[in-house]
Amino acid sequence: MVDKNICLEFETHICEYIDGELPQEEMGKFQRHLNECEKCREILQKTVELTSELGEIEEEIPNGLHESIVNKIKYEKFKKRSANITKFVKIFSASTAAMFCIFCVFTFARLSMVQKSSENDAGELTGDYSLEENGADHGAGGFFSCSGKTQLQDTENTQSNNTENSIFDINKNSYILSSDGEIQNIDNSVIGKWSDGYGFVFEFKNDFTIIISTPDNIQYYGTYQILPQYTIAMTFPDTGIVSATYENEDGMLEIIITGGKLPFDK
C-alpha cells in the first residue's frame, strides 16, 4: 500500500532529491517509496527531464550583440590606455621634479649603491641585482633605481603582467627623454629620438646613472635582456616590441622588452 503522504512529501522535495541535497535518511526513505510508487517514479522521470532541458537552454543572441561586446572590450582597452597616458602626464611632471631632486642628491652627496652581481654579457639578465629606492614618490609613479655599471632591475618577475616600475640604471651623463620624443642632453641639446612620446622617463645622470621609470599600471609582458651594443636607439614598433639601447663609456647596455603592448601602442 503506497503512502500518499509520502507522495506529497516527495513532490515537495523532488529537486532536492534530484540534486542530492537531502540528508541520507530522507534519501533512503524516498528511494524505498519510489520502489513502490509508480506515480512518483513518473514524476521523478519527468522532473529529471525538465531540469536537464533547462540545463541545455541556449539562446540565439540578438543581431549585433557579439559585435557590440567586442567593441565594448576595445573601448575598455582604449579607456585604460587613455587613463594611463593621462596618469603618465601627471606622473611625468612629478617625476621631473623628483628627478631634479635626485640629480642634486647624486651631484652633491654622491650616493652610491651596491651591485651584488653583474649581467650576463650577451644573454638574458641573470643573477642578483641590488635595489634601493631613491627617495622618489614611488606611489605616485616614481621609481626605483639601481646603481653600478650595468644593472637592470625588474620589479616583478620577467613574465609579470603588471610591471609598475622598471628602472634601469647605469652610471652615465645626464640625459632627459622629452615627451615629444627626443632624448636631450642636460643643456637641452638633442642626442636622439624615440618613436613615441609617452610611457617612459629617462634620465642619464652625471655620475653615470640612467633611470628609466614607467608610470604605474603600465602593462607589458616579456623578458629583459642585456646585450653589449654601441648605439643609442629606441624603438616602439607596433608589434609591441620595445628596444632601448644606451651607450656609456665602459660598454653598452641594451634592454629589450618583448611581447605585449604598451599603453601607447597603435
Partner: protein, 186 residues
Amino acid sequence: MEIDNLISNSRKGDEAAFEQIVYMYEKYVYAIAYHYVHDIEDAKDITQDTFIKVWRTLRNYRSECSFKTWISRICVSCSIDYLRKKKRNTEQSLTVDEDGEELEIADNSVEADLEGTYIKLEEKEKLHKALERLDEDKRQILTMRYIAGLPYSEISEQLNIELGTVKSRINRAIILLKKIMEQGTF
C-alpha cells in the same frame, strides 16, 4: 584553441583570443541573462556587462572551478546588480491557477494574443515560454540553479536568503513549471 590558451592569451591583452571566448560563451551567458531578467534589451546589457567584467577580472580566475561556472557566476551577479539598479516594477500581474496556487504571470498582452499559436510550438520553445510564465522569483531561481548551474549554497549567498528557502523555492518553481508545461497554459 583550448580554453586555457585563450584565457592565457586574453590575460596578456590579446583581443582576438578574448573574442573567441565571447564566441564560445555568449549564447550561454545571454540565456542566463535573458531568463533571469526576461527582457531582451536588459539581457543584452547584462551580457555585455558580464563579458566586460570577465575581461577586467580574467586574471583573478583560478582553475578551482570550470571557466563556464566562473562566467555563470559573474553573469548571475551582473543580473542581480542590474535589476537592483533598475528597480523595475513592471512585471506584476497575478492570476490563480486551477488548484488555487498563486501563479504570477508577467503582464504581456501580446503573448496572450498568441496563446493559440504556442500550442504548436516544439518542446524547447514550450519550455522557453513556460519559463516566461513564471513570476520573477521562480524564474530567477530556476535560471540560477539549472541554467547557470549554481549550487544551492551559492544561490543562498547571492540572493541573501536561507538555504531552506532556496530549496523550497526551487521545488515550488519546478512543480509550477511542470504544471504550466503539462497544461500548455502559455
